[in-house]
Symmetry: C2
Subunit: 104 residues, 2 copies
Amino acid sequence: MAATQQYVYPDQDEIRIEAVLAALADPVRLDMVRQLAQSGTEISCSGFDVAVTKSTLTHHLRTLREAGVIMGRQQGTARYNSLRRKDLDELFPGLLQGVLAARR
Amino acid sequence: MAATQQYVYPDQDEIRIEAVLAALADPVRLDMVRQLAQSGTEISCSGFDVAVTKSTLTHHLRTLREAGVIMGRQQGTARYNSLRRKDLDELFPGLLQGVLAARR
DNA sequence: GTCATTGTTCGATGGTTGTCGTAGTTCGAT
DNA sequence: ATCGAACTACGACAACCATCGAACAATGAC
């Protein structure tokens, strides 16, 4: 199922800081978040520049989604992912900014 | 060895964001950091209010120390731990603030 | 319909980690 | 010098997790 399935995203008040931190702690996922933040737009699954297989990428996207870090929009066979920046900034003001300020 | 041993702390420029995030992602460690931030002072190992055994506490303190989140000062048999707030704020401005803003 | 593209799901696997109990070490006080 | 208090170190164990390959599902194009 490449597309039809509808995912459940945590409401803003269901986002837990521990889950967000754990999601951001992995190098691959942190890189994905950086790419999302830097692009400022949506990125399709295949659009991420990461050195893992498709199935591993799906795993990371699910982790980020369930933590409340990203949202997904379906279009055709493609799924476009975007940062939940507003939700995160409201809940944890400064967190994303601080994380993204880290030198790579 | 309760005291004599000198630990090596990462220099500020050796602190990696991934390690900091992983250190903060654990509920017990996050709670310890919250206690440090709220108290504004040092807390001895036995001064933390956590529901784990001493050996587990030592493990968490080591994780926080090696990630660059805390420093330790030896005095007698006690080790006083403090937040490396200045180092973290300089490296990742807003991160600590955002994490601490999270509702418990 | 057939096929390529896109993404998910399902084991399996190896590595990491949080937890504990036990033992050991250092320091200060008696 | 003996004792207790404060931590640390080590081994063990269960749980979790990042990774992959292979198989599957849905969409769009031909």
